[in-house]
């Protein structure tokens, strides 16, 4: 018979106020295998832990049960405690008599009875626990960062500066993300390019960073410490080595100024050969294969003008996709967001009137490199009456976005300020739901723009309508309790941030979960905001949820520090609580292979049985429950252990 020690915690008064702890000790002591049983005010404190260690040695215990809070809180603590006393940590069992008993029951007598049952069931399980040993696997000291916005840039630089190699994969021809589109940033009104481009250049020059732009991650296999990555480099039809970025080709292109520029939100024009913006990194030209006359029709006038003017012979019409493969130990997902599609709110007539525009479009109007050269002109005219509408696509269940986008209140304040600066006699009204100016210096900025003469009217816009060539916005001033309408030359929609559809594939490749808002789910909303439940995969920036640039950069550095933490280890130890296949019983039906959410099962062709990849298995148990021949055993959660535990509570 196993020798078991049981320790009951009062958790201050959290448990003992409802559960009669002494009574539990009395009942549990009666179990023959329990050779030591005691209670203590705080089991997790140093004296509490010492008590357990002493009891292990004095009573030669085989297993230990602590009845206290949730194992999510202190299982790691007590596993370490028993380890210190020479016991295998997997011979420790925790009974939750706080969250699952004292906190949820009022009747002390019944709660005490339930606590006794819970502890008894833990003792039954503890007597069947077996020692398990973690396998060490070596770590590849390199990282993959997906997405080259400010989040990916910051993470890459931090990891690279710690001495580890980084592969930075960006889908677009240049890194920079959304921030590269802004003229100024709130609340300090820093010039976005002045603070972003130095970092972009650092990325390009860093000896530890390999920049893969215009590229996509095709597949990711393996697991923490040892991911195998395959990246597709899309053909640019320009030789990256030869192109000097002089831009003669773009000027010469027959389609120059005739194709809507994605970077300018369709407001500006580019040619078929282009760079998204003048400070692009890398400053290398790209031919748009969907538009280029030569690539589409095999003919561009008498000869392609770009090739004619290029002095370095960089145009390469026969360019093909290239594939690169490499191994990394850790991955950071920094795939950012997509601006809310304003046409989903038909009452704001975004589709209908050119002088109804989105926040991101207005950013391009401000930008010196933008479609109007930084002049605030809408349809060639300076707008005088301007209305901003907040929360477009945020806090809006109608379009499925229940969340607040956290940046629109402030970017509206910034944009209103910039317009006022450029058009001093403009009459600017902000229609808002609630004002959220929570960041450092934000409330002060909100006050400042009101002093500058921006009118804030509480109550959001109900509709935009046009009449006789004029544009009107209707709303209620909720502080006055009066409906009103304003004529406007320009209506700016404070569009929110939504999950990036370009990141869906990455989420699937990595088996990442989404939170209810559609952004990637972190491992814990408070304590593990940069981790995911997949070991070795981290999140940075808006990919995890809406945030401004300061928060994005902070999280990006946080993700980098977790990556560095992981890469600095020679070996990592995976949890041994995984599925094990009984090769004699397995018939190779592959049911498990279809079910496993982590693709941890492989078929061993030679033996005709399944194999579990220990590094991929998360111990979820789906396979064990489904296996028709019952040949999968879950370490630490064997059928015997679970049934013994259940019998005590039934």
């Amino acid at each position: 018979m196993k020798r078991i020690g049981v320790f009951i915690c009062h958790c201050g008064v959290n448990i003992s106020n409802t559960v009669d702890v002494k009574k539990v000790v009395e009942e549990i002591s009666k179990i023959p295998s329990v050779v030591a049983c005691a209670d203590y005010q705080y089991m997790c404190s140093d004296p509490g832990q010492d008590m357990i260690k002493k009891a292990i040695k004095e009573n030669q215990l085989d297993s230990v049960v602590v009845a206290a809070c949730s194992p999510r809180m202190h299982e790691p603590t007590f596993r370490a405690t028993v380890s210190d006393a020479g016991m295998n940590p997997y011979c420790f069992e925790m009974s939750n008599i706080r969250e699952q008993c004292s906190w949820v029951h009022l009747d002390g007598e019944k709660a005490t009875k339930k606590a006794i049952d819970l502890v008894k069931s833990s003792v039954a399980r503890a007597s069947l626990l077996e020692p398990l040993v973690s396998q060490g696997v070596p770590v590849v000291p390199k990282a993959l960062v997906i997405g080259g916005g400010i989040a990916g840039i910051q993470t890459s630089l931090d990891i690279a500066n710690s001495g580890y190699k980084v592969y930075l994969v960006e889908k677009e021809p240049s890194i920079g993300g959304h921030m590269a589109r802004f003229d100024k940033t709130f609340p300090t009104l820093d010039c976005a390019a002045c603070i972003l481009t130095p970092k972009m250049v650092d990325v390009a020059r860093h000896p530890n960073i390999e920049l893969l732009t215009y590229s996509e991650v095709e597949s990711i296999d393996g697991s923490v410490g040892n991911f195998h990555v395959r990246v597709k480099k899309n053909p640019r039809y320009v030789d990256m080595e030869k192109c000097t970025g002089c831009g003669s080709c773009a000027e010469a292109c027959r389609l120059a100024g005739r194709i809507a520029s994605e970077f300018d939100m369709g407001l500006g024009k580019r040619g078929a050969i282009y760079v998204p913006f003048p400070q692009a990194v890398p400053l290398r030209y790209t031919i748009d294969p969907e538009k280029c006359l030569f690539l589409k029709h095999g003919k561009c006038g008498t000869s392609p003008k770009c090739a004619d003017v290029c002095t370095t012979d960089a145009i390469k019409f026969d360019d093909k996709p290239e594939f690169v493969e490499f191994d990394v130990g850790a991955i950071v997902v920094a795939t950012g967001f997509k601006e809310f599609s304003a046409e989903l709110k038909p009452e704001y007539c975004y589709d209908k009137y050119p002088n109804v525009m989105t926040g991101l479009e207005l950013e391009r109007i401000f930008a010196p490199s933008g479609p109007t050269g930084g002049k605030p002109k809408i349809n060639g005219k300076e707008p005088k009456r301007i209305v901003f509408i907040s929360c477009v696509g945020s806090r809006d269940k109608k379009v499925g976005n229940a969340y607040c986008s956290r940046v629109c209140c402030m970017y509206i304040a910034k944009q209103a300020h910039l317009l006022k600066e450029k058009i001093p006699d403009a009459d600017i009204t902000v229609m808002y739901t609630d004002m959220r100016a929570f960041g450092k210096g934000y409330e002060e900025f909100y006050e400042r723009v009101q002093k500058e003469g921006i009118k804030y009217r509480r109550g959001n816009a109900a509709e935009v309508y046009g009449q006789d060539g004029k544009l009107f916005v209707r709303a209620e001033d909720t502080l006055l309790g009066e409906p009103y309408e304003l004529e406007a030359d320009l209506v700016v929609l404070g569009t929110g941030l939504t999950p990036n559809p370009l990141a869906e594939g990455i989420g699937k490749l990595l088996h990442l979960s989404l939170s209810s808002d559609g952004f990637f789910l972190e491992a814990h909303p408070k304590l593990r905001p940069v981790d995911t439940v997949i070991d070795g995969v981290f999140l940075a920036g808006v990919a995890q949820g809406p945030k401004d640039i300061p928060d994005t950069v902070a999280q990006a550095s946080g993700a980098a520090s977790h990556v560095v933490n992981l890469l600095s280890k020679d070996e990592i130890f995976a949890e041994p609580t995984i599925a094990v296949v009984d090769e004699d019983a397995c018939v190779g039906c592959k049911t498990c292979m279809l079910l496993c959410p982590f693709e941890a099962h492989e078929f061993d062709e030679e033996k005709g049985v399944m194999k579990v990849n220990a590094a991929l298995c998360k111990g979820c148990g789906s396979c064990a429950a489904a296996c028709p021949s019952g040949s999968i055993r879950m370490n630490h959660f064997t059928n015997d252990q679970i049934i013994a535990q259940l019998l005590e509570v039934l």
Binding site: E347, D396, N460, E476, T478
Partner: protein
């Protein structure tokens, strides 16, 4: 017994309201009168006497507000339910006698909104019978209908009995 104000708020998702005012701003009726849809929700939530307000009866139940509300508050449904509660508690609008007029007309003629001579003319033009095909054109059926109404609380509260 019908629902309480609180139950109406819960069923109508009224506690989700963020007082953004998009309902009032959308309300075609509120442009002409003192109806402030948002304010009705606020009053209901604050435990004020929302069922005694006259504005409750200014809504034309066009549903524009409910269609636009970003928080899926069932504004119009709630207004209808609040009216039911108001009648149950004996609060008919005093300023506007419209509901009473409608009930009386329903009782007397069988139609809440009897055909006006203008409408009858239009009906004739498009080839319909001048009168409607309902209880209002059949004296015997109308009597039976009135007997049915006599059994209802609403005719009493509307001051007919």
């Amino acid at each position: 017994m019908g629902k309480s104000v609180k139950e109406i708020l819960i069923d109508g998702n009224g506690y989700a309201c963020i007082q953004c005012g998009r309902c009032t701003g959308s309300c075609p009726s509120g442009r002409e009168c003192s109806l402030r849809t948002r304010k009705l929700i606020h009053m209901a939530r604050m435990g004020m006497d929302v069922i005694k307000t006259e504005e409750l009866w200014d809504c034309t139940t066009c549903f524009t507000c409910q269609e636009r509300c970003p928080k899926e508050v069932k504004t119009t449904d709630m207004i209808i339910e609040l009216r039911n509660l108001a009648v149950e508690e004996g609060y008919f609008p005093t300023m506007s006698d419209v509901p009473k007029i409608i009930i009386k007309s329903l009782y007397d003629t069988g139609a809440g909104q009897p055909l006006s001579p203008e409408v009858s003319k239009i009906r004739a033009i498009i080839g319909l019978k001048k009168e409607a095909y309902d209880v209002s054109t059949n004296a015997e059926t109308l009597k039976k209908f009135q007997r049915l109404l006599d059994g209802l609380e609403i005719t009493k509260k509307g001051g007919l009995r």
